[in-house]
Amino acid sequence: MRLALERRAERSIAMALVSPLIAVALTLATGALLFALLGKPPVEALKIYFFEPLTDPWALQEIAVKATPLVLIAVGLSLCYLANVWNIGAEGQFLIGAITGGWLAVATHGTGAGYWVLPAMLVLGALGGAAYALVPAVFRVRFGASEILTSLMLVYVAELLLDYLVRGPWRDPKGFNFPTTAEFDAVAAMPTLIEGSRLHLGAIIALLVVAWATVMLGRTLKGFEIKLVGAAPRAARFGGFSDKWLTVVTFLISGALAGLAGVIEVSATVNHLQPNISPGYGFTAIIVAFLGRLNPAGILVAALFLALTFIGGESAQISLKVPLDLTKVFQGILLFYVLACDTLILYRFRLLPAPKAVHGIR
């Protein structure tokens, strides 16, 4: 007997809902195994990692704060991936958004500029991210260069650019030689939602983006076009849709959203520019997009779960003395399981008898 895949006549709706849950469960099981290998009590460790943050109000807020950039980036990426456009450089677009938006905060620092600064920063951040995403898009459409590799390479370039700026021209002269800009003025800071909390207006923006994407994908011709180009490019051309133009559009949208996430992140939580402003949001958002099954509402839930792994990873680092890299391991495993479980939507498993054993019909 052996297992074989068999194509389903129709995609299974039940599996589409259940498969991310199976993936999470399998990740937890693998996590327990991993903790045991590291010599930590598995159940205890899983509790610290995945459940304790949920019982702590501060940690819950922090989860929402960390989920905000993930949602913004992942919604944009999901549009790309639905259209079969492989933008994997969201991390770079995030950093450029932080740089272009942050530039205004640096430039207006101490000038007593009014409340227009923050909105203008958000616009600049989105524009910066979009412009940076345009580069791989144009290279793809005009020259046929793989957007996977070019968008990824640009992440390294963006990191080095940020590093250069905060060590060089934008460094705070009063900053004791630390690689950081001056603290942003109050007009450049994202307002918090509740006094004294870290939960900020960015969360509301993220929810609005989810709502917009839900309507756009589900109800409009543009959403239909995105899904059609990705699923059946030849049929899309036959329908009169241009895959090249759509490549540019989806790159622009996802770049803008990643850039927006970048400027929101620096104006809300970091409040200045420094080399490490992202714990890898741009890459984690890829996992969020797939765990959310490229669906905006799904992405919202998935982002909260992956934000939990960030928070859980930090507390596990302190109380269990496990390296922070464990979070990345979990994230990688999770993505593998998600992709593996997605197979169940299109295929079912069938036990095949070994060819020789067959002589009658069951």
């Binding site: 074989a4 895949l5 068999e6 194509r7 590291l38 991936y81 492989w86 994997i88 290279f139 020259f143 046929g144 260069a145 793989s146 996977i148 590799l149 070019t150 990824l152 390479m153 640009l154 390294y156 370039v157 080095l160 650019l161 590093d163 250069y164 060590r167 060089g168 890459f283 890829i286 996992i287 797939f290 390296p323 922070l324 890299d325 464990l326 979070t327 990345k328 391991v329 979990f330 994230q331 990688g332 495993i333 993505l335 593998f336 992709l339 593996a340 997605d342 197979t343 295929y347 095949l352």
Partner: protein
């Protein structure tokens, strides 16, 4: 003269990990599989390679650990993309994320440790020939192995029946299946080979390039290796040209930084990445209408009907 020799030496040293990883990926892609996880396999290979060498004191055992680690990681990729027909692009990314995390876990205990790096060949008199002596007869074993590997791959692909079958699988998996070739098994072997090569390429870094382990030390070399395969049009010997070209750029920026020409070091450091983009754009542009010489089944999942 001595400067030229030094540059040639460092170029070859810097190119070898790229060549090793890209050679493996070339075979994988020729079989029709796109494994974007080269960076992840390299860095795990690096961490395991260093751990192995540090614990045993043997560079050879370290290299073997790197090979096994890369192959083991690629087995996960093979299971998901071949066994379960999952999307290869996304699975490759997952492999990279997983690999980077794992390398941090494995390498955590070895940060700050040092080993004796791989030794160099020395043949009395011959190696002492000025200019070319050290370049040709004074390299470490990895360098010679990487060149032998490439020749071996060329021979395999174009002179053996197994290599022909592998190319056929990459060209048209449905036809290969119809003729009775085990498409998935051939692809799995190719992926494992690619993983082993990437692992070795990664292990090269802490074993021969800089004799210590730093987290994230592959610094995008896996991605550059992927770009090299495109640059090489999936032809083995053009891969060598590409790898040495990129090694050259790496060395150029190191030398330029050392001279302190007043160019920001970050700009110099970004040269290899910018060069990769430039090369990809240029090569795609030049091919233009003639179309890509990529294997026709590259990146497509295959599920045999029964």
């Amino acid at each position: 003269m001595e400067f030229v020799e030094a540059v040639l030496l460092t170029v070859i040293t810097a190119s070898t990990p790229l060549l090793l990883a890209a050679s493996g990926e070339l075979v994988v892609e020729r079989a029709g599989v796109l494994n974007l996880g080269v960076e992840g396999m390299m860095i795990v290979g690096g961490a395991c390679g260093f751990a192995g060498a540090y614990l045993t004191g043997s560079i050879a055992i370290g290299a073997l650990c790197g090979i096994l680690a890369g192959a083991a990681l690629s087995a996960v990729f093979a299971a998901v993309t071949l066994g379960l027909a999952a999307n290869q692009v996304a699975s490759g990314l997952a492999l990279t994320i997983l690999g980077v995390g794992l390398s941090g876990l494995i390498g955590a205990g070895y940060v700050g440790q040092k080993i004796d790096g791989a030794g160099h060949l020395y043949i009395p008199y011959v190696t002492d020939i000025p200019l070319i002596g050290k370049v040709i007869f004074g390299e470490n074993a990895f360098v010679y192995f990487s060149i032998a590997l490439l020749i071996g791959i060329w021979y395999f692909l174009y002179r053996t029946r197994a290599g022909l079958i592998l190319r056929a699988v990459g060209d048209n998996h449905a036809s290969a299946h119809a003729l009775g070739y085990p498409v998935l098994r051939i692809r799995m072997l190719a992926v494992l080979f690619g993983g082993a090569c990437a692992g070795l390429g990664g292990a090269y870094l802490p074993l021969a390039y800089t004799p210590f382990w730093v987290s994230g030390m592959t610094a995008g070399r896996g991605w550059i290796a992927l770009a090299l395969v495109v640059f090489a049009s999936w032809l083995p010997f053009r891969l060598m040209v590409g790898a040495y070209l990129f090694g050259g750029i790496t060395i150029l920026q190191l030398h330029a930084q050392a001279t302190g020409l007043g160019i920001p070091s970050q700009l110099m450091s970004s040269l290899p990445y910018l060069a990769t983009i430039l090369v990809l754009v240029a090569i795609s542009w030049v091919r233009g209408r003639r179309g890509s010489p990529a294997p026709a089944s590259l990146g497509l999942a295959f599920v045999p009907d029964r």
